[in-house]
């Protein structure tokens, strides 16, 4: 290959990346517009946009009170929550796959989501929790998720912080927390059982502006840091020793990345319940197009996650309308076939 061809190849990869960003952002904006119009009070895309703009710039745009109420009080925060939740879960998955060098790593295979379910079940069935009042379930889910991450971290640390030991610890924890959740379901009343099951389905029904604010704020803090530290993630993806020899303080970097990924996951799923597969699938899809450089992979995979979750939620709202399906079920329906495809496609599946 000549030097010019090499340079052209590098430039072409750059253009492909730029195009990917352009089209995913465009698609996301369009989908947000469509998603805001979906629902029983049928009005057009144009009306929906007008209502959004009228809320943002009162006086400059005309819109009916009804449309404005429906859009601003019921739909917009749910749609935007889907965007930030999908973004956060995908970024968390990307970070975990990167540092654990395992394509199957995600907030769910590491037991963090099961722990959140256990936390929610403890709140629902036993009424016990760390935070009281209306935040009992959310607080429990959040803290249990972080607790799981902490246990994995401590176990891995004890064994020398290897990627494989972290995954094994995570899988073991997943089973343990699932068992605790099952036990609580068994002991609970029919109503409690129903509530637990419903929580675990994962749904955006419980979204609100303050919750949207919390997750957005967290992303606004974590994302720039992760992108700034992207070279460390790139190096870690090559293996601990290589990362070390490339100048990455491996233990410290692993700890920080693991913490951020867990925090993002916990912050999202404590509000939504279990939404699987976004964190697993979005990084894989994105990596195929954008490549493995985390400087671009992280934001791109966040965008794909946002698209996927918003798409899944839009489907969940329309498929059996007026019944709204839990989005966690939809993401699993979309995610599982992909997961299997991934397995079939791997040529080095021998481990």
């Amino acid at each position: 290959m000549t030097r010019d061809a090499l340079r052209e190849g590098i430039a072409a990869a750059r253009q492909k990346r730029a195009a990917f960003f352009f089209f995913t952002i465009l698609a996301l904006f369009l989908l947000i517009g469509v998603a805001v119009t979906l629902g029983s009070a049928g009005f057009s895309v144009a009306e929906a946009y007008r209502a959004v703009l009228a809320g943002l710039f009162p006086g400059s745009f005309e819109s009916s009170d009804l449309a404005q109420t429906i859009v601003w009080d019921f739909r917009l925060h749910r749609v935007l929550f889907a965007v930030v939740a999908g973004f956060g879960l995908a970024v968390a998955g990307t970070v975990m796959q990167g540092i654990l060098r395992n394509p199957l790593a995600s907030p769910f295979t590491l037991g963090i989501a099961s722990a959140a379910s256990t936390g929610a079940s403890v709140a629902i069935v036993l009424g016990a929790g760390f935070v009281g009042g209306s935040y009992l379930i959310i607080g429990n889910a959040f803290l249990f998720a972080l607790l799981a991450a902490l246990i994995i971290y401590a176990m891995a640390r004890y064994r020398g912080m290897g990627a494989t030991s972290m995954i094994l610890a995570g899988i073991a924890l997943m089973y343990l927390f699932s068992a605790v959740t099952s036990l609580l379901q068994y002991l609970g009343t029919a109503d409690e059982l129903q509530e637990v099951v419903f929580w675990m389905f994962g749904s955006l029904d419980r979204s609100s502006w303050p919750k949207l604010g919390i997750v957005t704020l967290l992303l606004a803090v974590c994302m720039p840091y992760l992108v700034y530290r992207a070279w460390d993630l790139n190096a870690l993806a090559e293996g601990d020793e290589i990362a070390e020899s490339l100048g990455v303080p491996v233990n410290r970097a692993m700890t920080i990345f693991m913490f951020i990924a867990s925090l993002l996951t916990a912050a999202v799923i404590c509000f939504t319940g279990t939404i699987g597969f976004i964190g697993l699938v979005a990084p894989h899809i994105t990596r195929m197009v954008v490549g493995t450089d985390h400087r671009f992979l992280l934001p791109a995979s966040g965008l794909v996650g946002a698209l996927l979750l918003l798409g899944a939620d839009s489907l969940a709202r329309t498929l059996l309308a007026p019944v709204v399906l839990p989005v966690g079920i939809m993401t699993a329906f979309l995610g599982v076939p992909f997961f299997i495809y991934l397995f079939m496609r791997r040529r080095d599946a021998g481990w």
């Binding site: 090499l6 990869a13 070279w231 190096a235 993806a237 090559e238 020899s245 100048g247 490549g291």
Partner: protein, 257 residues
């Protein structure tokens, strides 16, 4: 020019001594071969020199103690290619070699970084598959990519752990020739662990023979590689013949005591 001094270096895993008062010194340009049977401590010594493991004793690079430097500072001085890359990453060859520039990059990839990457790929002849995934390459191609990354790192000291283990006869010779050329043209010091004594004899200016974690002998290949030493260190009866100034080893049979 760069000067590496290893002095009274010892290392133990828990209570098992792996390296015991290792001592040698070398200057660039040059290629140092660490040879010795399996388990003699070659890989551990390389990791100690890079500061990945923390040994007792001294590792000095131009007078600076490597353990006292920060990781990025070490990375600008020392590049390391581990043994047996089992990397299934989706990274392309270009992305992988680019990683070598990490110690120098701020965040953006500059023209100079890109140029260093292109040159390193050309030097190891991996530019042909610059945009293929690492996982799709043969073992030998992958090994060349790893050496290219170490070269792109621009560090005066390069540590290579068995750089030819996955390579066939020709590729092995070519990589060793490239390594020798890099050492002399770019003024680098290369320290490599290597099993193939003949390849080592052809490429190295200094051989350090390890046995049970100690330096058994050191010197030029012609000084060191004698039938007696091979019998003693490897337990193999061998004939050594010199061709073009290089000692060639013909192993005959395991020695029976």
């Amino acid at each position: 020019m760069v000067r590496l001094e290893v002095d009274a270096l010892s290392f133990s895993y828990r209570d098992r001594s792996v390296l015991d008062t290792i001592r040698f010194a070398a200057e660039s340009p040059g290629v140092v071969g660490l040879v010795g049977p399996n388990g003699s401590g070659k890989t551990t010594l390389i990791k100690c020199i890079d500061g990945i493991l923390k040994p007792e004793g001294m590792v000095l690079l131009d007078g600076a103690k490597i353990p006292s430097l920060s990781r990025p500072e070490v990375a600008r001085r020392v590049a390391y290619v581990p043994q047996g890359i089992t990397n299934h990453s989706h990274a392309t060859v270009y992305e992988t070699v680019l990683m070598g520039r990490r110690p120098h990059l701020s965040w953006r990839v500059s023209e100079a970084d890109e140029e260093a990457v292109v040159q390193a790929m050309e030097a190891l002849k991996v530019e042909e598959f610059a945009f293929r995934c690492l996982g799709d390459l043969s073992g030998g191609e992958r090994q060349r990519v790893m050496v290219a990354r170490a070269l792109a790192q621009g560090s005066p000291l390069m540590l290579l752990d068995e750089p030819t283990s996955a390579l066939d006869l020709r590729n092995g010779m070519e990589v060793m020739e490239t390594v020798g050329r890099l050492a002399h043209e770019h003024g680098r010091l290369v320290v490599m662990a290597i099993h193939d004594l003949t390849l080592a004899a052809r490429a190295c200016s200094l051989l350090v023979v390890l046995r049970h974690g100690r330096v058994y002998a050191q010197g030029t290949p012609a000084e060191v590689l004698t039938p007696d030493l091979i019998a003693e260190v490897y337990g193999v009866e061998a004939v050594v013949e010199e061709r073009e100034g290089v000692p060639y080893i013909f192993p005959l049979r395991p020695r029976r005591d």
